[in-house]
């Protein structure tokens, strides 16, 4: 057989699009219709968070008792005049109250996740990086926290401090943030720890250390960005839990105190009118449902989009 070397000519056109992790993920995300819908609703909720009080037709605590009395002492139903979504039994405009509730829920969502990140991230990172005793302590601590059912602990905390200065700040809402946050940071710490542990042993970390990069820089510049994906997903998917917890607490009478209009509280108020004026319960329930679903779908979409195992698959 003759020796034929170099059967090659010019290389074939590659035809591959340049991709980056985030660009890829974004493209995958927007293809997911549910996630997009969820994202849009999330944006609307954020809008309510900042501009709710401005666009609300009435102050949420303002009562219009004359109209209620004129209506046979019953709450006014939706689409019946000046109150777009009707009123409650004290003549307070339901739409405005729902917007206030949106503000509460969104604030809970954001503040809780901020607390979770502020506490959970450094602790998880420290546990992963320093290992040894620090890690053991964290793990034991999380075991204890896991032993407490979340809601139970939140209720305990809220009830305990209900009448303290902390408890009455911001109409009781601050206490809710803290209680939910305290329970939730553990999950994030474990997640960060897990992510960093697996990244810690990689070669580029070894290289960075060999060069003499400081621990802090390694963690912040190299490890954390790689762990960002799962963290973002965890934060997003943690929000429905926080919103649910807040609504449940409000239902139990804990947390946001009247006249603030947490959605859970609105449902309590509306319970007795469920047969005659169901809108008082249905509307808050719908809002809660939308909030929960939108963050859940968005979180699912983010998870699918950021999952590196899906790279290249249809």
């Amino acid at each position: 057989m003759a020796n034929r070397t170099g059967v090659l000519e010019q290389p074939a056109a590659a035809g591959a699009r340049a991709t980056s992790l985030w660009g890829d993920a974004w493209r995958r995300l927007v293809r997911n219709r549910l996630a997009v819908v969820g994202g849009v609703i999330v944006l609307i909720l954020f809008f309510f968070l900042f501009f709710g009080p401005i666009i609300a037709p009435y102050p949420f605590q303002e009562q219009h008792l004359q109209e209620v009395l004129a209506n046979g002492n019953r709450p006014i139903g939706p689409f019946q005049g000046q109150y777009l979504l009707g009123t409650d039994n004290l003549g307070r405009d339901l739409l405005s109250r729902l917007l206030d509730g949106a503000q509460i829920s969104m604030t809970v969502a954001l503040v809780v996740q901020a607390v979770v990140l502020l506490i959970g991230l450094p602790i998880g990172a420290a546990a992963a990086w320093y290992g040894g005793r620090v890690d053991s302590i964290l793990m034991r601590f999380t075991d204890v926290m896991y032993a407490f059912p979340d809601l139970l602990f939140i209720i305990l905390l809220s009830v305990t401090f209900r009448e303290t200065a902390l408890g009455t700040a911001l109409n009781g809402v601050l206490l809710v943030f803290i209680a939910i946050g305290i329970v939730s940071w553990v999950g994030m710490a474990r997640l960060v720890r897990g992510q960093l542990l697996s990244l810690k042993e990689t070669e580029f970390v070894e290289a960075a250390r060999a060069i003499g990069v400081s621990d802090f820089k390694i963690i912040t510049r190299h490890l954390l960005p790689n762990a960002m994906g799962p963290m973002i997903v965890a934060v997003t998917l943690g929000i429905p839990g926080a919103i649910l917890a807040e609504a449940t607490l409000a239902y139990l009478g804990i947390g946001a105190q009247p006249p603030r209009a947490s959605w859970g509280k609105l449902i309590v108020d509306g319970q007795q009118y469920l047969r005659s004026e169901p809108h008082m319960v249905i509307l808050p329930a719908v809002f809660i449902g939308m909030a929960l679903l939108s963050f859940t779908f968005l979180g699912d979409g983010l998870r699918d989009a950021l999952d590196p195992k899906l790279k290249g698959k249809q």
Binding site: L8, E9, Q314
Partner: protein, 371 residues
């Protein structure tokens, strides 16, 4: 029972030649008739594939993974399907048993005749009965191809119980027998073990046992050694070779490594970009390949007599996009011997020296420019 005259093979008797006092109702007659059927069979091929085209309908377009492929496999022979990743060899094998994931894949045209049976005309139930029973499959990665939550003994015995109607005990015995045959020591004890308790090479042996459980006529081995250590590769290949010889099983060996194909196959099909670009007996392919791609493949094999430290030779460039294959020769962008004609027209498979030796290249045709 009538036997048509088209039975080939010198010396095979026809009914007309049966002695007058022998009818098919007697034992003798029956045996003779069986013999006739057998002989007749060996005149036809185990597998005839004609103009097979399999496509994948994706968001980016239609991928022509297998484009008008035709070949044959005789009973008991070992055929190699050789080519680089993405050339369509795996999809071809999956198409043979209609295992192509559909959607998005689809066999859009072609004929597949297996043991005289038209595969494309079977119902899915009939097809299912063929799989495992007459056609066995060995997949590339034994780590993921075995079910991690089932004992290996069960996974082997399953086929035997389903297709051969064996009782649990009989099937288990057969599984032990097969395990021993593929070289797993202490077979009976290991029946209850799980895949993760075996090493990579052992797992592939288990896969071979599964594939051969019902004594199939054809074995499709898709890169059976690619995921294994080099030292284990040889063992597995030897095993496949000896078992197929022992049971008379035909084998289609799919690989990107011509060296492996050389050691195992009677004939070789070289595939590129979804087409067969050269086919022939193994000796012909190695001694007088007639297609520049084949030269590239052969060339890229490292040799013992090379200068130490010299660079490995590669075929530069990338395989073409299978979404919109043009009318030109698909290898032309990478071919050193390319002429203008290659860029506008695709050659057909035409004959070269050697039995059944065909190549798809204008340049190596008798009137071509490559000598």
């Amino acid at each position: 029972m009538t036997v048509s005259e088209e039975s080939g093979g010198a010396g095979s008797p026809t009914v007309a030649e049966l002695p007058n006092d022998v009818t098919v109702e007697t034992e003798e007659g029956r045996l003779l008739a069986e013999q006739l059927a057998d002989d007749r069979r060996h005149a036809r091929k185990l597998l005839e594939v004609r103009n097979l085209s399999t496509q994948f309908f994706t968001r980016e377009g239609v991928v022509h993974a297998v484009d008008d492929v035709s070949f044959e496999v005789e009973y008991g022979e070992t055929l190699g399907l050789v080519g680089e990743s993405g050339c369509g060899k795996s999809v071809t094998a999956l198409s043979l048993t209609r295992l192509v994931a559909s959607p998005p894949g689809k066999i859009v045209s072609g004929e597949i005749i297996f043991d005289g049976i038209d595969i494309m005309k079977l119902s899915s139930e009939e097809m299912r009965l063929l799989r495992g029973r007459k056609i066995g499959f060995i997949f590339q990665d034994p780590m993921t191809s075995l079910n991690p939550t089932l004992p290996i003994g069960f996974q082997i015995a399953e086929s035997a119980r389903l297709h051969l109607g064996m009782s649990r005990k009989a099937a288990d015995d057969r599984a032990v027998e097969l395990l021993a045959k593929v070289g797993i020591p202490r077979a009976r004890e290991r029946m209850g073990d799980y895949p993760h308790q075996f090493s990579g090479g052992m797992r592939q042996r288990v896969m071979i046992a599964i594939a051969l459980a019902c004594d199939p006529m054809l074995l499709l081995a898709d890169e059976p050694t690619t995921a294994l250590d080099v030292t284990i590769q040889a063992q597995i290949l030897d095993l496949i070779r000896s078992l197929s010889a022992e049971f008379g099983t035909a084998v289609i060996l799919i690989t990107h490594d011509l060296g492996i194909a050389a050691g195992m196959c009677n004939r070789i099909n070289v595939m590129y970009a979804g087409r067969i670009v050269e086919t022939g007996m193994v000796d012909d392919i190695f001694e007088q390949p007639k297609m520049p791609y084949s030269w590239g493949l052969l060339d890229s094999l490292p040799r013992m007599d090379e200068e130490k430290g010299s660079r490995l030779r590669t075929i530069e460039g990338l395989p073409p996009d299978l979404i919109n294959p043009g009318k030109e020769c698909r290898f032309s962008p990478r071919c050193k011997y390319v002429h203008d004609r290659c860029r506008v027209e695709e050659p057909d498979l035409s004959e070269r020296e050697g039995e059944g030796h065909l190549a798809r290249c204008f340049g190596t045709e008798p009137a071509g420019w490559i000598k």
